[in-house]
Symmetry: none
Subunit: 204 residues, 4 copies
DNA sequence: CGCTAACCGAGACGGTACGTCTTGTCTTGAG
DNA sequence: CTCAAGACAAGACGTACCGTCTCGGTTAGCG
């Protein structure tokens, strides 16, 4: 469901206004190498030992090439995660709200597997520590997912299928709260039965 | 929110086994000054700018006195939070499961106010970055709260008051998931109506 | 007193083998600022209070820039001394061995004035404490001076002008022994009359 | 020739004025253990790694017991050296000035053997770095030896046996200069032939 | 026999500097 | 104008010692 990473540097004028600029073009090879290196090093050593220097060295690029295009290592990882997670999580609309919700949740949970979960945990951590990155993290990663689930639950709400006393917004918080709490705090599995349990709790 | 601070150094033999040791005693004044300094600096500058050096300087102690008793700044903060939050969150048992749960959740939410929430967010972040601290964080802070809510919900479950399809464990995850998700991701308020909504969702 | 400072980093391959390397060049400004700062701080506070941290701060550089190019403060001082003392002490060869020796000794003694003597005493001290530095100190500072005096005395010896029972090597030890003993132990002056006395003692 | 170490603390009133004081007596066992520990650790690890903490630990005493009786590690070493060197270097007076001088120098050189030379080099180094210790070092160790050789050479001078142009003071500097220069700078041996060479150079 | 004084071991204390590490910027020559 | 390389200023890290202070526990004389 994460659809579009931003390959442009964060604080730079829109390239569309000057579609052709003089000078050497950005190296697509370096970009990919940096994203891959960040992901690998996270898996190998953990976020605490993930450094811009290490990423650049592993990628075979200079540090400046990282800093030219990303504000820091967290944003590299953010783009790497969105790139990895580019496969769409469907937003089904079959008319059967319970089936739709279950499918969405099951697909979401299924996408939360080890290489990606490490990155998600690191990103959520960095978002707490660096408020500016926190904003980018919420806008890029959290909000699109919230909106997807929100539209699904809005439909259910309009049809009177939402559990009594629940609002769509509260239901979204309960669903993603469960997801993140397991990722961050307990490490308990996110599996299909849990999606079913959530579905039954939020609807009716 | 927290009931039991650990005034003993993290990895040290139980003092009870050697009730009198030679040498100068640990300075209670320094201990308190360090905890207070950590809390103040977190509030003033944020976790990113919280340094052991700064804490020691503000507390008027040497750095070694910090490192002698805590593995790092996160553990200082962990003890500071538990010390600050020593006020008991009641674990009511009136027979009215809904009232009991609502009281517990409302008290828990009420304890999550700005100076403390900053610390909690920082601690959860550090727990993601430093796995060893993560274990201490879960054992010291998360688990006791989970167990408290767990016993409350076990009673409700035994009385058939839990919502259908929910287990006590899943209900605990939903409750704390909502709490932490709002702390970490949305910043939305944790207020009494939310406690009521949660109570109605988890019971019946 | 010293003829050849080593402007190259201590343990680095000869730059001539790789005449052009990528990357930013070493800052000549920083190098000079560090040497000057070390010399000034030594004069102001003494070797005991001379710290790498202080040198870097005074020089307006980072500590790493010191450690990148020198193993420690003693090596900075060693280079500063050799740089300061770059003025040549002549190695005269007039045929008059007594006049030659006297000129050499008088020039050597004349170069041993307060700002430099402080550094020399500190360097000799460090050479005793840090054996690895001791080797560098002997190779860089002591040996060239020994060899200069040695060639002068070899000529005198070949001409039969050396005092009976003395070898050139022993004479070198007597001359520099007197110099260093006064620097390190008594603080007595190193003046022209002493050079004359030494000359008459070593020759004939 | 070092005859009397000072077993009293450096800056303390003369014990003779209050010959009997109440309270526990100084532990002779601790004193000896500290001196021995300092000497051993110097031999094992070198002066750079000789610490008061290490000495106290090796000696089985507290740090305070070291600081109560000595200003620092250098003074411990100074007393250890003077204690080791308590065997008298004779100050012969046979009427044969050359024989007397040779005997004195040969005995002095013979006393400069490895365990002691390490300590002497460290002490001379510390004397350069810590001016206050330098004064104690000169008064305790250097001056007595200078005075011994000085009286010997005064006798020779009065008898007209000193080399022409040499004063007794200059001769003392030449002799000890050679000794210390070899200790500190070259490491060349101090043997009987060198004593003979020095004798022939200084007398006649 | 207690009292007071001084020393003992142990070890925590406030400091200071160490040498390393990482950050984000700047500089260089090549493409 | 970007690239790889790498030096730069800045500053925190965690460690090691310094010299001091504080414990409880011993030894000594003196009253």
């Amino acid at each position: 469901m994460i659809e579009q990473a931003n390959p442009e540097p964060v604080d730079r004028a829109d390239a569309a206004s000057t579609p052709v600029r003089p000078g050497r073009r950005r190296s697509e090879e370096s970009r990919r190498a940096i994203l891959a290196a960040a992901y690998e090093l996270l898996a190998e050593a953990g976020y605490a030992r993930l450094t811009v220097e290490g990423v650049a060295a592993r990628a075979g690029t200079g540090k400046q090439t990282v800093y030219r295009w990303w504000p820091g290592k967290a944003d590299v990882l953010l783009e790497a995660v969105t790139a990895h997670a580019r496969q769409h999580i469907p937003l089904p609309d079959t008319g059967d709200h319970a089936a739709d919700l279950h499918a969405f949740l099951a697909a979401t949970f299924a996408a939360a597997t080890p290489p990606t979960t490490d990155a998600l945990r690191a990103l959520m951590a960095e978002a707490q520590i660096d408020p500016a990155f926190g904003t980018r993290f919420r806008d890029t990663l959290l909000r699109p997912r919230r909106e997807a689930l929100g539209t699904l639950l809005d439909r259910a709400h309009a049809a009177g299928a939402l559990a009594p006393h629940l609002t769509p917004a509260a239901a979204v918080d309960l669903a993603f709260g469960l997801l993140w709490y397991r990722l961050l705090a307990t490490g308990d599995p996110l599996d299909e039965p849990l999606a079913a349990l959530l579905t039954r709790t939020l609807l009716r």
